[in-house]
């Protein structure tokens, strides 16, 4: 049973998230609605994973993001999945800056697809990453003039996108209708073209790719 903390100020959405995660076998240890409560909960309860809205009372700015970042400086690698109505590369970079994984950053719409959302929560709880496809699209768009990236084949690019979102080889294979060994071959090709050291660990591999895309 994974212990989860939810921070969301809209009652309907908070309630929906509680039910959704409980139905998928999570234990909701707290459901808070403001930034200070969130920080207190993160530090005192040390949940296995928390689902956090960026914009929270009292300031309705980036209260949730700041609380998550503050908690992660005190407890490195504390798994946090950040939800937002809009995604920004700036926030993604701040979340990934410590390079310790256990980070998710998704658009709120992704909650619509319960399976994928719960999968993302699990991945983050296990120390992996879950980046919104839109963040990855923005990252790739701003890397448009990056030559090693331009040298990738379309298939390799698909694999790179899925990998940057934080998916494992198995999940990528399922999504792109490929065999796992084909995915492994593509990943090796990508790592060679980008000049990255290959790694068998899924999480470390994703962080390397994100760090590469962010290093521009």
């Amino acid at each position: 049973m994974r212990r989860v903390l939810i921070a969301e100020d809209l009652y309907l959405l908070r309630d929906g998230l509680v039910h959704l995660l409980q139905a998928h076998g999570f234990t909701v240890v707290a459901a808070v609605e403001s930034g200070p409560e969130l920080l207190k909960g993160l530090l005192e309860l040390r949940p296995d994973v928390s689902v956090v809205d960026v914009r929270l009372p009292p300031t309705f700015t980036d209260e949730g993001l700041q609380a998550a970042l503050a908690a992660r400086t005190q407890v490195p690698g504390l798994p946090v999945l950040v939800l937002s109505q809009h995604v920004e590369q700036l926030y993604a970079r701040e979340l990934l800056a410590d390079g310790s994984g256990g980070i998710g950053y998704l658009l709120k719409d992704r909650v619509f697809n319960a399976e994928q959302f719960v999968d993302a929560v699990r991945r983050v709880a296990e120390g992996g990453t879950a980046m919104d496809p839109e963040v990855i699209a923005k990252l790739l768009a701003s890397n448009a003039r990056n030559e090693p990236l331009a040298a990738l084949t379309p298939r390799e690019r698909d694999v790179l996108e899925a990998m940057a979102e934080g998916r494992s080889n198995a999940a990528i294979a399922q999504r792109l209708y490929l065999s796992e060994s084909a995915v492994a071959k593509h990943t090796a090709g990508i790592f060679a073209k980008l000049g990255l050291a290959p790694s068998d660990d899924d999480n470390r591999r994703v962080l390397a790719v994100l760090a590469y895309l962010n290093s521009r």
Partner: protein, 489 residues
């Protein structure tokens, strides 16, 4: 004027005399023009040939303008033209007619002429020009001895005289400012209305239409759920996809109204976020001690956003630099890119849009884009930052501070010993005169002198309070006119 006396070089003296001769020779033009102007004025008002009036005024103005230019060239004294701005061209009504007062015209000619006529007739500067022209020979003759003996000094006195009748007055400056403000207000209101219409259209055509489609899909699914659960499920997943698209659409609209990152993080981080999303390699340098007001931030953000996307789309640039800094209370933004240059504000509507947006804050934009690049755009928004960051306007200038200190240090003397104490001595009939000046005067002058002393002292106290208070009020009023207290009507 500087206190030092310029050493008269022979060359410069000769030039001065040349200028004096030219000034006097101008009388040969001015006197006939005066006569002609008088005749034209007589014809246009006494005989009703009013068509002669505008050319007559323009003739006098041309002469006055030439005089301003000459004075500036000879003495460095800048005489600001005092004329009211030209009336705008007549506006076509929805029915295709042009209106002037209570009459409608088919062409804009008559209303334009009417506006021009009123403009020239009611501008006090017109009549000050006439007065100047009329007095011109008198003044020149009166100044003749000075012009001959000390041409430099004489020309300067002449410049002062010209400034008196040809220069801008406080009223003309204010009138100009009022017109300018009215124009920027209209521009701001127009662009705001256009913005609202755009948002309305986006919501109406995009979001609203999509929500209707989702509602219909859900209705269809509801009907099918008993009969054909598989089809109902397909419809439901379609509705979910559509709601996701609606959210994407809505996100785009919101970004156009006020980007969320700007609301959450302020200008510096919002511009950094822009730089990250841009395909160019953008360096961002923001040096602002505090966040500016929200409308200022939004204007600056959209300007930078537009410029960066211009650079990426048309300029063929690879790198760009954004620099945002404060210059006193002014906000200064510089965007440079290494593209091929040759940007022209009259061709692209983007630059015009930025100018319109900045106009609401009296902001200006300077574009430097030579063919081949690089392109540099500098924007400056005056007085949009809180003033107390940078300057010490609240501090009195030195001479005022000195006066106030002197007043405080000395005003006790006339008030108390020389005034009130002397009065008490006189009432009590004390023989002692001590150093009370009033008591040394003849008997009938003693009371008036005491009263005058008290008055002087009190006046000095009042002044020493009033000078700093007035100074602060100027500062306060300036601030009140700034964006901080801008009220939304």
């Amino acid at each position: 004027m500087t206190g030092s006396v310029p050493v008269p070089h022979t060359g410069s003296m000769l030039r001065r005399y040349g200028q004096v001769v030219a000034l006097l020779a101008l009388l040969a033009v001015e006197v006939p023009v005066t006569a002609l102007a008088a005749v034209m004025l007589l014809l246009s008002f006494a005989l009703g040939v009013i068509v002669l009036f505008p050319p007559q005024v323009m003739m006098v103005r041309a002469l006055a303008e030439r005089n301003r230019r000459l004075v500036r060239r000879w003495t460095d004294a800048v005489i600001e033209p005092p004329y009211l701005p030209k009336p705008p061209p007549p506006v076509r009504q929805p029915d295709g007619m042009y209106r002037s007062d209570r009459t409608l015209y088919k062409t804009p000619r008559v209303p334009a002429w009417n506006d021009r006529w009123k403009w020239l007739l009611t501008d006090p500067a017109t009549w000050r020009d006439h007065l100047w022209l009329l007095l011109e020979p008198v003044i020149k003759v009166a100044l003749l001895p000075l012009l001959v003996l000390a041409p430099g000094r004489g020309l300067r006195v002449y410049a002062q005289w010209s400034d008196l009748l040809l220069g801008a007055t406080a009223a003309s400056r204010l009138a100009g400012q009022v017109l300018q403000l009215r124009r920027t207000r209209n521009l701001a209101a127009d662009s705001q209305a256009a913005e609202m219409r755009r948002i309305e259209r986006d919501l109406h055509d995009g979001t609203q239409a999509r929500l209707v489609a989702i509602g219909m899909t859900l209705g269809a699914a509801e009907q099918l759920v008993e009969r054909d659960p598989a089809a109902a499920r397909a419809l439901l997943s379609k509705a979910r996809e559509a709601s996701s698209e609606t959210l994407t659409e809505l996100r785009r609209v919101i970004r156009g109204i006020h980007p969320p990152v700007l609301a959450e993080r302020g200008l510096a981080d919002a511009v950094r976020a822009l730089a990250m999303d841009s395909p160019l390699r953008v360096t961002v340098d923001v040096d602002l001690p505090h966040r500016p007001e929200a409308p200022v931030e939004a204007a600056a953000y959209f300007a930078v956003s537009e410029l960066l996307s211009n650079a990426a789309r048309h300029g063929g640039a690879r790198t760009a630099a954004v620099d945002i800094s404060s210059n006193g209370a002014n906000l200064r933004i510089t965007v440079t890119d290494d593209g091929m240059g040759g940007a022209d504000p009259s061709r692209g509507s983007g630059l015009a849009g930025i100018e319109r947006r900045l106009a609401a804050f009296e902001g200006v934009m300077a574009l430097n884009s030579p063919p081949g690049g690089p392109t540099t755009v500098t924007m400056e928004l005056p007085r949009v930052l809180p003033e107390d960051w940078a300057d010490d306007r609240l501090k009195l200038p030195r001479w005022k501070a000195f006066t106030v200190a002197t007043l405080w240090a000395t005003s006790w003397c006339p008030t108390f010993p020389q005034g009130i104490v002397a009065g008490v001595f006189k009432i009590l009939g004390v023989e002692e005169k001590s150093w009370f000046l009033a008591l040394y005067l003849p008997e009938p002058w003693q009371w008036p002198a005491i009263a005058a002393m008290i008055c002087t002292g009190v006046c000095m106290y009042v002044l020493s309070i009033r000078i700093p208070a007035l100074h602060k009020r100027e500062h306060w009023m300036l601030r009140a006119a700034g964006p901080g207290q801008r009220c939304v009507a």
